[in-house]
Symmetry: C2
Subunit: 513 residues, 2 copies
């Protein structure tokens, strides 16, 4: 147990709510309280006894509060090892008393950062004294209790009650872990902010941070525990109906929203299953987009996630109502549309009106390492080069662009067939490019054979051999878009020329795994 009596505490908090809980508890056990600045005033106003820190140390607060607690009388009081005789003697010689409890939170740096404060102002919210107190107490958890979050007052109060004015080692260690969690998080926010300001993309020491938002029912599978963390307090997604989102829902939702972001066209629709698009359309209106996205692979769309880049109308709601989707994401929903859809208990409705993509990096964690990379946000039409005798028509070019935009979001090897403004066949996740062609073709023949004539195809990477191109020609595609760059490029262009189809090289590969 290793119980330690609390005799003296230092309290200095930015968030002064709930102080009553802890003050009455400390009073009961006759704990002496040291405090400073506004916390001191607040405590006095609440009619509790309290010694001002400058009186305690004999050193007055300086530099507008930049130097208050950074004093050896405070830190020796926190850091001394109680059972160490030498430490005891040193404290006695210098007339320094032990401090057994540190209750400190930190200046709200992140909150002010998110208010878009200017650099100069923000710097004043970088707390120096606070983290030092917290870290000193957390290091010395064998003797000292640290409370770094006002939400833990209640727990401390209970512990003191249970232990008659003491705390157990277990409790102190737990609070120490929380404290270091906070200081690490706090400095990670500052570090990432400074790196962003200086445009340092890949710093020597990289930290990532998140605040626990909620427990998910489970992870990718039921035997895997999982939690959602927010890096910034703005997911931009609002659930307006249905049960809690699952791990796989989140994965699919973001996959779908990334597709819409790339398309960047109102009324677009993307349907996703197992993090792969299985139907995409940028029609003239939401109904057309929905119908065309859905017909691409109605079997896979079953139980999938659908994202709509506009507000759901009643007319669309009636259509959506006919099909089993797990999640519908849209930029809002009309009242009469909501009335129709909210009857479905198993459906989850998400409002993405405020969603925007603002992360710039992806992270792939691999055992003891991780890979950081820039996200793939290159526009596909920057370096188009027509390589065949036949030039694609404007309408073909638009379909080809769309096919490549979708391709970016399909797991490699990816082949996407489109006709006009809709996908008609998507081949994903195959180790062989030829197989992805066959899958895309198979889908098109099964579900939308009438759209094959005049269709076009995109490949996320170059064709290593002419075989897959021949396969696409056999299906009947009229144009192909691909990065180019294979040693067989010449052969492949010859095959295209021979078949009288158009081909565009983009120079940009879009692998996704």
């Amino acid at each position: 147990m290793n119980l330690k009596k609390i005799k003296r505490a230092i309290i200095s908090v930015s968030d002064k709510s709930n102080l009553k809980i802890i003050l009455s508890s400390l009073k009961k056990f006759n704990v002496e309280i040291i405090s400073s600045g506004k916390t001191y005033k607040k405590i006095k106003n609440m009619n509790y006894k309290c010694i001002e820190i400058s009186k305690y140390t004999g050193f007055s607060e300086m530099l507008d509060g930049r130097v208050k607690t950074l004093h050896p009388k405070i830190h020796a009081g926190i850091l001394s090892i109680r059972k160490n005789k030498k430490h005891k003697k040193e404290l006695r010689n210098k007339n320094i008393g032990n401090i057994d409890l540190v209750i400190v939170d930190l200046y709200p740096f992140k909150e002010n950062l998110e208010k878009n404060k200017k650099s100069k102002k923000l710097i004043e919210f970088i707390d120096i004294g606070g983290p030092t107190l917290i870290r000193a107490a957390a290091k010395n958890y064998n003797d000292v209790t640290v409370i770094s979050n006002i939400n833990d007052y209640f727990q401390l109060s209970n512990e003191l009650k249970k232990r008659k004015g003491s705390t157990s080692l277990n409790f102190r260690k737990l609070m120490s872990a929380k404290a270091f969690g906070l200081t690490a998080y706090y400095d990670s926010v500052i570090s990432n902010w400074l790196n962003k300001e200086l445009n340092i993309k890949f710093p020597e020491k990289k930290t990532l941070h998140g605040k626990l938002i909620k427990k998910l029912r489970y992870g990718e599978n039921p035997h895997q525990k999982s939690y959602l963390y927010d890096v910034e307090d703005k997911s931009g997604l609002k659930k307006i109906h249905g049960e809690d989102l699952s791990y796989n829902n989140y994965n699919d939702i973001y996959s779908a929203l990334l597709v819409l972001d790339t398309l960047n066209k109102t009324d677009s629709v993307a349907i996703v299953k197992h993090a792969n698009p299985c139907g995409v359309s940028t029609g003239k209106n939401q109904i057309e987009s929905f119908k065309n996205a859905f017909r691409c692979d109605p079997l896979s769309a079953f139980g999938g996630v659908i994202a709509i880049d506009s507000m759901v109308t009643k007319k669309l709601a009636l259509e959506l109502n006919k099909i089993f989707f797990e999640v519908i994401i849209s930029r809002g929903i009309k009242k009469d549309a909501l009335k129709i859809l909210e009857k479905k208990k198993k459906l989850k409705l998400i409002d993405s009106s405020k969603f925007e993509i603002n992360n710039k990096y992806g992270y792939l964690f691999l055992n003891n390492s991780f890979l950081q990379q820039e996200i793939d946000n290159m526009e596909t039409d920057k370096k188009f080069k027509i390589v065949t005798k036949i030039k694609p028509s404007i309408s073909q070019i638009n379909s080809l662009k769309l096919a490549m935009q979708i391709c970016k979001h399909v797991k490699s090897n990816a082949i996407v067939l489109t006709n006009k403004n809709s996908s008609i066949g998507i081949g994903s996740g195959q180790p062989s490019r030829l197989d992805s062609c066959k899958i895309a073709a198979d889908k098109a023949f099964r579900f939308v054979p009438e759209e094959i004539e005049g269709s076009v195809a995109a490949s996320d990477a170059f064709f290593p051999f002419p075989d897959a191109v021949e396969e696409l020609i056999k299906i009947g595609v009229s144009a192909i878009i691909q990065p180019g760059g294979s040693i067989n490029d010449k052969k492949i262009i010859d095959v295209a020329n021979k078949a009288g189809i158009a081909m565009i090289f983009t120079g940009a590969r879009h692998f996704k795994h």
Copy 2:
């Protein structure tokens, strides 16, 4: 530019190498140096002038060095805003001088953690004074220069030379960013250690950290910049031949090693392409495993990554030499085997003898959020339940287990066909389970039709309808393993019984995306 003259510096470093670089530079510009403990002694021994910190503050070092620099005279000297008249006056009144340069590194906590020091000893390596000095100086970068890494001595020395004893705002801000990078990293290591000690899996505040190891040529695609970071200094992988590994190599290498880890059988072989297994075998010896893994899909294996759970012999090297692999990973390689393979310039050879999986969580980053989950390391044979009239033979059970072990590592929807100890067809990454069945079947018919008789199948999730099971029966599989749990389970069992095949329910889904 905002140049700031350096007049007074505080130096306190754990790593005392390279001090000469900086001391001679500071001497040239008449910088007064304050130092403590061993750094003080070292500087004096090197015949440079130096004031001991206790003399400077008038407060002697305490508690075995736990309290040295935590003194207002030091921190007011660092934190004062130089152009602020009130600050100036306060410093003058208290007879405190400005400190313009802070050179401090931190106690080597992580290094000692990795030496497996005990908790009690480790705590002494949690630095309190160091981070406070670094953070104070880094906060006040408008006036103060902070050097938190001995590798930056040279840069500082150059800056002082160029600016004639001053530093520019740019330089100071850059060093400030590095400093907060270090303190965030340092506390993240401590926080994760404490959480691990206390078995806190999902803390309220979560940080992840990495040390930059190297720049990769590019990320998943050539237009994406990418760097490798190490979370712990032990990847366990050693490159013994070939060019630098690419982003996609790393992804494939870990995918392959995860398969071998699950199989946990010497001499196993896994071939991976686009992060999906395309051939796996646990044969009697490495040659048999290699041949059987390769024949499963020789087309996809081309240019792939192959992992071998044993030491490569000359005999195997001769076989491997016939095929184009991008990466071969093995538990070492015999000298005569290396001689054969190292002739291939485009081949990369990795020794994984010291590799072991020790991460317990996966992280999926989604714009402003991330999902943390336990990795899927459940053993598949914990709750086997035979649900058909026909019971599988022991040999079938072994093949079924193998199929499910592979299935875990194939992107969903995943269907894996095996016969004896080898995969014969893998269907991956399809939004429809039926399609994955067809792909797996198609591979088997194309490459190993002679192995279809007596083969078995695994599905990573339950079958929603009997159609996919009927498809597998049509191919000729003799047994199926799957989680079960569909509302159509009864129908599906009926179909299996009618066809006279065996079926096992595991109760455990294995989605992977």
